[in-house]
């Protein structure tokens, strides 16, 4: 494959060349352990500290409020399990139906994991992916240990009103966690203004390496470690630091702060051009998610009567990388839980395509997708028995009644 048009930045991003350059010395001459007492290791410890400061600056947090983890998933697990252990008498969690599996599957399996019965409220979302604040407020009660709500949805880019939600939780004395893996680096975040207790982020979503995550724990928030071992991170997360990735993440956060205007200006304009172009040139195409309460880089469009995996493989032929919420791409048999939670009609749920951009995308690439995608949809529809046709459906049993319909 010669040319790659990468529009799958919510899945992962390219490591910025500047980030790679800062990482490389730690694979050769700077191999010391940051915990060592000698100055050879100590210099590495100093660079970890500087990285921590840069990351804290992007979040409006204090450096000592950050723990390095191995990924966003570890951060999510750490936060939620910590809250449950801090308040053993409280066994209720409030979350949403559209969370990433890192939170969703954890909450759904808590009883098995902990051996205690838990009550999990998964808040529904509106058809545009937004949330009803009254419903949220009413779901909180005396037993609620923690609220875990994502900042931005990975599939649609829809933003939740985290500030308001965190304030409501705080006024009720309930801990608040947000999975901000998709939000950090794409929209401004200032934790000195938003009273959340835990925030998860993941390096590889903002042009740092895979295998590095951060958990923000507000000063004063009760905390129980997830990984217990050495004294690293003041005993709050054992394990020798992933030094190269930490330093790389520091650089990535510095770049993200610098590129924030471009992300919300040029990248957003490219996204809008792409989205408007596709919706205009392809009939029966529907936007999934709120038009404005959204990340600047993400668009999610359903093309009725065609299936997502087939679209992706045709795009792949041109080197265009995208994702789909269709059942077939995941290996499960039902379309994504996000599409189902939003009530996307089944004529469209299987044909959803997500395109997520980054500062590395160009207008030529957007034009290329605008040229290639419409004929693919037309070709697949030509082949579809549902396109301008009748198909009575299933023999061999009852009509399909899966939860997607």
């Amino acid at each position: 494959m010669s040319k790659v048009v990468y529009m799958d930045n919510n899945a992962t991003t390219r490591v910025a060349p500047e980030v790679l350059a800062t990482m490389l010395p730690f694979f050769s001459e700077l191999y010391g352990n940051p915990s060592s007492m000698h100055s050879f290791g100590g210099q590495v410890g100093r660079m970890v500290r500087e990285a921590r400061e840069k990351i804290a600056a992007l979040l409006g947090a204090g450096p000592d409020e950050l723990l390095f983890t191995s990924c966003g998933t570890e951060s999510d697990s750490t936060a939620i399990l910590s809250a449950l252990q801090s308040f053993p008498e409280k066994r209720h969690i409030v979350t949403t139906r559209v969370e990433h599996p890192a939170v969703k599957n954890l909450c759904e399996n808590l009883d098995k994991l902990t051996g205690h019965k838990h009550r999990v409220t998964q808040l529904p979302v509106n058809s545009d992916g937004t949330i009803d604040l009254d419903l949220y407020e009413n779901s909180l009660d005396e037993e609620t240990a923690i609220v875990s709500v994502m900042w931005a949805n990975n599939e649609t880019g829809v933003l939740f009103p985290i500030k308001e939600m965190a304030e409501i939780a705080k006024s009720r004395g309930i801990l608040f966690h947000t999975d901000a893996v998709q939000a950090v680096g794409k929209i401004p975040i200032n934790l000195s203004q938003v009273p959340i207790d835990f925030l998860s982020l993941s390096g590889h979503k903002l042009h740092a390496a895979k295998g590095i995550g951060v958990l923000y724990v507000r000063k004063g928030t009760p905390f129980v470690p997830f990984l217990i071992g050495g004294h690293q991170e003041h005993g709050r997360r054992g394990g020798t630091e992933n030094v190269a990735s930490i330093v790389g993440l520091g650089k990535a956060c510095e770049l993200a702060a610098r590129n924030m205007n471009e992300e919300n200006g040029r990248v957003k304009a490219l996204r809008d051009k792409l989205e408007e172009g596709l919706l205009a040139s392809i009939p029966n195409a529907l936007l999934n998610g709120h038009k404005t309460l959204r990340l600047p880089n993400t668009t999610n469009i359903s093309f009725e009567y065609v299936e997502g995996e087939a679209i992706l493989l045709h795009l792949d032929r041109y080197g265009i990388c995208a994702s789909s919420g269709s059942a077939c791409t995941s290996g499960s048999l039902e379309p994504s839980h996000v599409m189902r939670a939003m009530g996307v009609p089944f004529t469209a749920a299987h044909g959803s395509i997500r395109l997520s951009l980054s500062i590395y995308n160009t207008e030529e690439e957007v034009d290329f997708v605008l040229e290639k995608l419409p004929p693919i949809i037309a070709q697949l529809r030509e082949m579809s028995p549902f396109w301008q046709g009748e198909h009575k459906g299933k023999v061999g049993g009852s009509q399909c009644r899966c939860s997607c319909s």
Binding site: E307, L333, H391, G397
Partner: protein, 277 residues
């Protein structure tokens, strides 16, 4: 990303026989929009009940489209009573194999063919008569049982891969376990009866190949290995181990304890399996 064979990719990118046939002799519709895949199959017969033309329209993923395309290529020119015997395994084999999670796409092809033949003959579909087990995807016990026997399924997960049953809400998993036990018992009773006392060389080779293909190879492939029949000389079965098996230290144990045992159980209890030198 799914590992598709070149043949699947080819039939997906360049599907054969897309379209409809006006005044078709048989039309079969299976699947639904909600389920994520659906297929309408058309065929035209000549005066001798030979399929002279077949076309399809499919909504679904790459393997659904490829399975439909492959099916139409396979049945064109076939007498109807021969086409009736085409199974989903035949479709998958024609395509050089499908990922296991995608086997239901080949099953959909076979069901569409059955529906089209039933439509032509004006008879109800035998599989539809059964009791619906999986409400999410509308799968009957007859369909599940047939898949268990024909494709030698051993778990609920495999049933889901082949028929979709159990892939939605999951409420039917217990019932699927039951069907699995019932059907497997039937299978185990049948196998010894199928073993004749005297075999011609050709029968022997054919049986050995069948057992290798059906039971041994899928299991070895799970571990990245493979096996090929090289020769049969009297009771000596000469095989060649491929892939991970070729370098595995335990391959001799596998050969004797597993391959030989299977062949002795199902073909002839005097067989000796040896590796090609």
């Amino acid at each position: 990303m799914w590992e598709y064979t070149d043949k699947v990719r080819d039939h997906f990118m360049n599907p054969r026989n897309v379209g409809e046939i006006e005044n078709a002799d048989g039309v079969g519709e299976v699947g639904s929009l909600a389920c994520g895949d659906a297929l309408t199959l058309y065929f035209k017969l000549d005066e001798n009940e030979r399929i002279v033309d077949a076309k399809f329209k499919t909504f679904g993923c790459a393997s659904a489209i490829a399975s439909s395309s492959a099916l139409t290529e396979m049945i064109k020119g076939m007498p109807l009573d021969e086409a009736e015997k085409v199974t989903n395994e035949d479709i998958a084999e024609y395509l050089g194999g499908l990922p296991k999670e995608k086997m239901h796409c080949s099953v959909m092809g076979r069901e569409a063919l059955e529906a089209a033949i039933a439509h032509y003959r004006g008879i109800p579909l035998p599989m539809a008569e059964g009791e619906v087990v999986c409400e999410c995807f509308g799968v009957t016990d007859l369909e599940v049982k047939r898949a268990i026997v024909e494709s030698n399924l051993r778990s609920v997960e495999e049933i889901t891969n082949f028929t979709k049953a159990g892939g939605g809400c999951g409420k039917c998993h217990e019932r699927l376990e039951e069907l699995l036990r019932e059907a497997r018992q039937d299978v185990q009773q049948i196998i010894p009866d199928k073993r004749p006392t005297r075999l011609t060389n050709i029968q022997k080779i054919k049986l050995i190949e069948e057992v290798l293909e059906r039971e041994v190879r899928p299991n070895l492939r799970k571990d990245g290995g493979d096996i090929e029949l090289v020769d049969v000389d009297g009771d000596f079965v000469i095989v060649s181990l491929r892939g991970a098996c070729g370098t595995c230290k335990k391959s001799q144990t596998t050969l004797k304890e597993y391959v030989e045992k299977k062949l002795r159980e199902q073909v002839l209890d005097t067989l000796i399996v040896e590796e090609e030198k």
